[in-house]
């Protein structure tokens, strides 16, 4: 369980959020929505311990995040960054194995590391590319390998900053199903920054809306998605389209 208490986040010249108190529990799948520059990435990086908040604290199972050694923290919390390096010249499997670093016992990966890496590649549908050079993959394939690295890390809490970027629609659907299964089915916590309201409203149990003025609205997804909330969040006109698959929120075309 991850708790944020009275969290203040700022970037030079702007307050991103004030006095945020939030509990992220096992079995929850969170979407974070907001306009560009509203502070989604900053929030994620603070919650996973990569950036220091201006004020307030974050607790992992009741213990202050700042006091936990990096390596131990990485066994509990993993993060897919919005921009990760493309400079890796080795094979795909080696890249995914880097995710095993927090569990590394010896100077080289052992059988349990290999097993976790292969299973993660299987889950993201990249296992057939394991021997291929990471550098030769397409953008979408690379993204799936990066997510496999995060899964191989086996953290209880997974942060993903725009996990769907570069993925085609079928792979976006498969990824959302996978992430939801990890959260709801395997009782982990998944928190992701998304730009697609449809995926968020259909696959995420909880949603957090970051407004430009630092106001934050969070709770169960069923209560978050309405034309009013979307219009306030994105500051443009929205329409709701009802279908048998659920409701779509789309900007009104002028």
């Amino acid at each position: 369980m991850l708790q944020a208490q009275n969290l203040h986040l700022t970037v030079p010249g702007k307050v991103l959020c004030q006095d945020l108190t939030l509990t992220l529990d096992a079995g929850q799948c969170w979407a974070i929505l907001g306009k560009n520059g509203s502070g989604k990435t900053t929030l994620i990086q603070a919650l996973c311990g990569l950036a220091k908040p201006a004020a307030g604290q974050i607790l992992l199972d009741g213990k202050a995040l700042a006091g936990i050694p990096r390596r131990q923290l990485a066994q509990h919390i993993g993060v897919l960054l919005q921009e990760e390096s493309t400079a890796f010249s080795g094979p795909v499997l080696d890249y995914v194995l880097l995710g095993r670093f927090p569990h590394a016992g010896s100077w080289r990966p052992d059988d349990s590391d290999l097993e976790a890496a292969l299973q993660a590649l299987e889950q993201t549908g990249m296992v057939q590319a394991q021997a291929q050079s990471f550098a030769t993959l397409s953008g979408g394939e690379r993204q799936r390998v990066r997510i496999a690295q995060l899964l191989a890390q086996e953290p209880g809490i997974l942060f993903l900053d725009e996990p769907l970027q570069h993925l085609d629609l079928p792979h976006q659907l498969a990824m959302m199903k996978l992430l939801r299964e990890i959260a709801i089915g395997q009782r982990k916590t998944v928190i992701m920054v998304l730009h697609d309201i449809f995926w968020a409203s259909h696959f995420c149990s909880h949603t957090l809306l970051i407004h430009d003025d630092g106001k934050i609205l969070s709770g169960e997804s069923t209560r978050m998605f309405s034309v009013d909330n979307m219009e306030t969040l994105y500051q443009c006109d929205f329409q709701e389209i009802k279908t048998s698959d659920g409701n779509y929120f789309l900007p009104t075309l002028e």
Partner: protein, 315 residues
């Protein structure tokens, strides 16, 4: 699998390179003479060739290892051991001592110059409790340029009789390398430390923030990498002057041949760097004998085509 064969090949190449350095020279020796030669042959072998071959191997290994480490630390494939001003500092110190006629103090003065650069570069790039790698790189380049100007100044005011020795020092030369003990001690320490850091190096190579999220204590590891690379470079430069290109080309050769992860790259660089410089120095001694070429010229002349060939073969 390919990596296993490559490492095996390198393990064989190392003794072959040392053997060839022992056997060839102004008087060629046979394998039998190596063990049961005359007294004068034994003297040539153990007083002259063996220490020089040992020095060459250790210096090559140290430079290649330093290149591997700095390419990760600076996240720049063009990084080489001389980027951070250590060799510039050492050269300024050495040339200064030569100019003043203090032949005995050349090494000590070079050490002073190297240590000055080694401490100055991180101190100047450390700001507000954060170490910016970008700043480190720029500070090193700026300091190197400063030392480069000082070296030119020293060369321009040196009497023409002394210029030759100075140029050899600058180009890298193993003819005065007769104390391999210290160099090997540095290699042993740097090699073991880098081996222990191999997995950290792998993770750090994909980015500071990602490494942090995977549990690497980034700042202490970066400081350790810098220190190991600095010690390795200083040890090599003191023994052999500024031998260029080994630190840049050897890591890339190995990566192009599929040795990407550092538990392969570190031992690979030590073996190939050492063998490469030992063979290059043997050529430098024998190619235009009895004249000797500065080995730094040969490392570049042989390393450049080799690297270009491998680059052109890569998809």
């Amino acid at each position: 699998m390919q990596r296993h064969f490559l490492l095996l090949f390198l393990l064989l190449l190392a003794p072959v390179s040392i053997l060839s350095a022992l056997l060839s020279g102004s008087t060629d020796l046979s394998l039998a003479q190596l063990l049961h030669g005359s007294e004068s042959q034994q003297e040539i072998l153990w007083q002259l060739r063996a220490p020089r071959a040992a020095s060459a191997f250790a210096c090559g290994a140290l430079l290649a290892l330093s290149g591997v480490l700095l390419q990760v630390l600076l996240r720049n494939p063009l990084a080489d051991p001389y980027l951070l001003g250590i060799s510039g500092g050492a050269a300024t110190g050495a040339l200064g001592a030569m100019l003043l006629g203090l032949a005995a103090a050349v090494k000590l003065s070079a050490l002073g110059g190297a240590l000055l650069a080694l401490l100055l570069v991180p101190a100047l790039s450390f700001r507000r409790h954060a170490w910016s790698i970008h700043h480190l790189l720029l500070t090193g380049i700026a300091l190197s340029a400063g030392f480069g100007a000082l070296i030119s100044l020293l060369l321009s005011i040196a009497p023409s009789a002394g210029i030759h020795g100075m140029l050899y020092w600058l180009m890298g030369d193993l003819s005065y390398a007769q104390s391999p003990g210290l160099t090997w001690a540095a290699l042993l320490a740097a090699g073991i430390a880098s081996g222990l850091l191999a997995r950290h190096l792998d993770v750090l190579a994909i980015g500071e923030l990602k490494a942090k999220s995977l549990g690497v204590a980034v700042l202490p590891v970066q400081a350790a990498i810098y220190l190991i690379a600095a010690v390795a470079t200083t040890a090599a430069v003191l023994e052999a002057g500024s031998i260029g290109f080994v630190g840049l080309v050897i890591p890339h050769l190995l990566r192009l041949m599929g040795m990407d992860s550092h538990r392969w790259l570190v031992p690979g660089a030590i073996l190939l760097g050492g063998s490469f410089l030992t063979l290059a120095d043997t050529l430098a001694r024998t190619l235009v004998a009895p004249q000797q070429l500065p080995v730094g010229v040969l490392t570049a002349l042989t390393g450049v085509p080799l690297l270009l060939f491998l680059l052109s073969r890569k998809r």
